[in-house]
Symmetry: C2
Subunit: 663 residues, 2 copies
């Protein structure tokens, strides 16, 4: 227990590092760290289980700064408690190119940053995945190895974003009682008082979703400690509404939106130094205070070494499994299992939708990889995301492997990121591809963080039929391919689907989206290949009978159409090859030679995809022929829609022949 005076001075160390760093950067957000320094100090000195010298310790408590603009709060804490990579030099280079102290906390930049935050609501929604991941891993490996809390600091923005409702409703439903959220209730948003746009009773709102929630004075260390203690013994998740003052200590700007997102200026900082009786120059922490912080940062060593002792004593097989899973490595027989399955497919040659192929692949994968956690945003039967191994996770049984995320695509994607970031788990979840738009902000963050989140997007074109244009993706393949570091797979049959799943699971630093059909497709990869051909991004699926006059590129359900067009063209004496393109991103990573060879030099290049052209010119040239969509879809049967939009083998062959005759 620290004395009040010491608490205050420790909290002030956060405040001054934050305001001085923002001032030096001439950019940033001083208000939150100044307002929330007391909460952070109590948490990091009295409750949080962590060891800055072993920052990746699996059983650490997680602290997630959902209000990521307050990054200097986190950077200050990491520096003060002794994370070695968070030097004072990093603090001095806040927001400068190449430093670990980016404007918003970036996962992978500095240890102790559990997730990338900044886009509001994301950290809070990730935290549901973290807290659920803890419960799942606890069920699998027991209290001795997994038993930690997830703490979140969220701002008004986090709670106004819709994804927060998806997150809190899911957490309440799952009774994630080790999830503890501090709400920085400072009554201020960027435009001014929160009352400009909101009057929600947040405590009542959280209670309505099955949380404990109560108001406290967020500047009173004992009140904070009492609330945390109560939360830790609750059977529900807890939200602590902490009344704070944004920019606390700044003489004229405190309590106003002027303290939010820009440097306070020399006068305000001088005033704050006076107010807090703080006479150290910028970036200097009084020795006794730094010492107190560093001592606090060492408090977790015993817990960590105790834990290591317990780990050393568990059954060797269990220990190996625990360590394999936390290292993110797949079981050693994984590739063999997939190869066997592909061999079987080359005999069976199923004619099924790729959503069904995906389920079949998952049946194999989930049998071989115990750390997969499936789910769907209330489209389980349509997304085919559930297999025999994945039973429902419930508050009474976290030892299962399937999450009914509810009609919450965004919350699902964010929770998948949290499950993934927690460690030890590989999470995937499904919805209709059109609703990837709802999940997009979290999908982007998975890409930015470089993590193995997997998104299953079925009903991937007008092929879904009568639900009509609100449900028919047209621009979504292009829009998803646009996200950097995101593998968008559109497999053509059961074999490619298995291959794409294999790549998704093996891509530790890249999230994946699988675009899957509702309609049945024949097996086109009828010859067994031990090699994962899809991993090349594109490959020749059918050779031309002679020197190719036409190359047709296609993906997914349009491979069948491309092969049909090839048949017609060959019949008319035009040697035609078909290139399957299951993944643009992986094709771009191949050697120039391979790319050149695969694109080929047929005089006519054509692409067929039931989406828009954008992105295809890269392969077919801006003078290539594109058979696809130019606008929104329509409500009708698949048999009506493909001809209606001119996506048929006949139309493709005709377009190629017209061009051949013109040459």
């Amino acid at each position: 227990m620290t004395s009040r005076e010491q608490h205050d001075r420790m909290a002030n160390a956060i405040r001054f590092l934050s305001m001085d760093a923002v001032e030096k950067a001439n950019s940033g957000h001083p208000g939150l760290p100044m307002g929330c320094a007391d909460i952070a100090t109590v948490l990091f000195t009295r409750f949080l289980k962590y060891d800055p010298k072993t920052p990746h310790w699996a059983d650490r408590d997680r602290f997630i700064l959902s209000a990521g603009h307050g990054s200097m709060l986190l950077y200050s804490l990491l520096h003060l408690t002794g994370y070695e990579d968070m030097t004072i030099d990093q603090i001095k280079h806040f927001r400068q190119l190449g430093s670990k102290t980016a404007g918003h906390p970036e996962y992978g930049h500095a240890t102790g940053i559990e997730t990338t935050t900044g886009p509001l609501g994301q950290g809070l929604a990730n935290s549901v995945g973290f807290a659920l991941g803890e419960r799942i891993m606890n069920a699998a490996f027991g209290n001795d190895l997994v038993d930690h809390y997830t703490y979140v600091l969220a701002g008004d923005g986090c709670l106004m974003e819709g994804v927060s409702q998806e997150a809190i409703a899911l957490a309440g439903h799952l009774k994630l009682n080790k999830l503890i959220v501090f709400w920085d209730n400072n009554n201020i948003s960027i435009d001014g008082p929160v009352s400009l746009s909101d009057n929600t009773d947040q405590v009542a709102r959280f209670q309505a979703s099955g949380w404990n929630a109560s108001h406290i004075d967020g500047t009173d260390p004992e009140a904070i400690a009492y609330a945390i203690e109560a939360a830790r013994h609750s059977d529900k998740p807890t939200m602590i509404a902490c009344k704070t003052t944004i920019g606390f200590g700044a003489p004229t700007k405190a309590g106003t939106n002027k303290a939010h997102g820009s440097p306070l200026g020399a006068d305000e900082i001088a005033g704050a130094r006076k107010f807090f009786n703080w006479d150290s120059p910028p970036f200097e922490i009084p020795a006794d205070i730094l010492d107190a912080w560093r001592t606090a940062g060492k408090a977790g060593v015993k817990a960590r070494t105790d834990w290591e002792g317990r780990l050393a004593k568990v059954d060797a097989k269990l220990k190996a499994e625990f360590e394999r899973r936390l290292a993110g490595k797949l079981p050693s027989n994984f590739d063999a299992v997939i190869a066997d399955y592909k061999k079987k497919l080359s005999t069976d040659k199923p004619k099924v939708a790729t959503r069904k192929s995906s389920e079949m692949a998952l049946e194999v994968i989930n049998g071989a990889v115990p750390e997969t956690i499936g789910g769907s945003a209330d489209l389980t039967g349509s997304n085919n995301t559930k297999t025999s191994q994945t039973k429902n996770i419930t508050p009474d049984d976290y030892g299962q492997r399937y999450v009914h995320y509810g009609i919450r695509e965004h919350g699902m994607a964010a929770a998948i990121n949290g499950l993934t970031l927690h460690g030890g788990l590989i999470a995937y979840g499904g919805t209709f591809m059109c609703f990837s738009d709802y999940a997009r902000p979290s999908m982007r963050l998975a890409s930015l963080m470089g993590i193995r989140s997997i998104f299953v997007m079925t009903h991937d074109s007008i092929g879904l039929g009568e639900d009509g244009p609100t449900h028919q993706p047209v621009e979504h393949l292009a829009a998803l391919r646009a996200i950097p570091n995101h593998n968008v797979f559109r497999p053509a049959d059961a074999v490619e689907t298995a291959e794409c799943w294999q790549i998704a699971l093996e891509s530790e630093r890249t999230p994946s989206t699988l675009a899957l059909t509702r309609q049945n497709l024949p097996t086109v990869r009828t010859e067994f290949s031990a090699k994962n051909l899809s991993s090349q991004g594109a490959y020749e699926l059918a050779a031309a009978s002679g020197e190719a006059a036409v190359t047709i590129f296609a993906t997914g359900s349009e491979i069948e159409i491309a092969l049909g067009a090839r048949d017609l063209l060959e019949k008319h004496g035009h040697p035609t090859r078909v290139v399957s393109v299951p993944c643009f991103e992986l094709f771009d990573q191949q050697s120039a030679d391979y790319r050149k060879k695969t694109i080929g030099n047929a005089p006519i290049r054509m692409a067929i995809e039931a989406g828009i052209r954008q992105g295809w010119d890269h392969l077919i040239g801006s003078d290539g022929i594109f058979i696809g969509m130019t606008g929104f879809g329509a409500s009708g049967t698949i048999e009506q829609l493909y001809p209606h939009f001119g996506i048929t083998a006949e139309a493709a062959a005709k377009a190629a022949e017209a061009r051949l005759h013109a040459k």
Copy 2:
């Protein structure tokens, strides 16, 4: 007042039309219409103010089926009450290509469909815009002309989607007491019981956001009527939690997810016919019941003619203004006002960020166009969306023109759609461009509906600086350009910004997104042109000194860089032209001649844009040079970031020269 028996039979007419249409289509959602038929019958026979023969009557009550999958409920009501275009033949062709009865209600397909729904939560979130639009128009034109309710039917999915929280919090804050939401509380979602994924106390949740909310028996006509009556006299928005049974009447499927989204099958329908004692064949409504419905559909005639009488009596100028605004036509002097402003700019030559240029243009526009309603998702000072004419709309004063939407990008975009659809208003709202991802589902629906929603997206590149990659759009221009029927503008200076705003306001059937910089840009359009050059999508901004060796295409902030590269190349003896491309979509609509001329035939084509390449090959060819981004941005100053990512005049000139030398 209808007798209970008549009520039941009228409700059953909805039930049978719905189940029979779904059966005939062999696709669709019978469960909701069967469960909600009582609510709909009470609303449409006893409360809703409408006239099927004058479906666009401005002061009609609005009915929004947020649970759009229950489209047969709406189509049945439109047919039964006598909307002339909703023939029984349309009902028989439910979900067939070319019919007005698409799988989900599509705005513009049939009269009486107020908004396109299907993606869950959207209708509810639109309704906030409808209800706010009513209040704004009421404040402008008085009770005599504008005084109507907005009724919404929402399902569990609508309430689970995060956007619902943004919507209800905003509606509660704005005290939109003429907004009345029925929640189809049927305990069933697609995966099974709602309890699989949710335990939220929805009544408490709505109350926490300032709504009236209570539970009723959603099958008891008098309870429904009583609740509506109470809601109509409330000073808050109202949510009525209606306990219903999905697929009510289907012998084995009622109350289960089997009644949700597929045809019931002959046996269930036969059972329902028995249960309801309904012996009419499919698509036949007993004459007395159809008569009762048609009579109900005529009840609004008097209200409509009374209203027309009042309209005829108001001041001629006010009447003309009301009619102009409802017709969606701009004031007749609009073009002249813009031309004058452009003339002034050609003298002033301001060097300001395009977000500031946008504010300057809006200052002119908002002065000339009284129906604009501005707003921002809590970034007013950053988005520059507020002008001298737009003061805050509050529950005490709807006679203003600015909405503080809160940190609710998605809810804002949906509300903008609602304001636009209401009629009489032109709504725009701002956020950071990176967060267009949050708003994307509603932006897509604006495009699908073909309505004049306007989205102001500032901080449109790495040029925003230190906030870092979470806030820096990279793929967003490409992703937004991917949406069909969506004009994405990226103006290069104050003149182009004014021109793009002019086009946005004049595009009655296409939504617009304006991508605007944080950083200052010089005026490059220094010579006055009465013609709106941006309306061509792309045009030659700077000619080459001789036969062009290089054409540089660029947008927005990269025009300055392109002009710098041109200077360098010209200095080195390479005649170079620069083409400004403020809008891809509009360029694609130009004549082939104009496009060919504008693209030109310089041997080297290059594009410069601080985003990804996707989409640019269309203009520069797949062998063109692209200077832009290949991955995420970074936290740093703008002066650091552009050189870091190689987006400079020097790098561009060097790349062009290397290619020239290679030729």
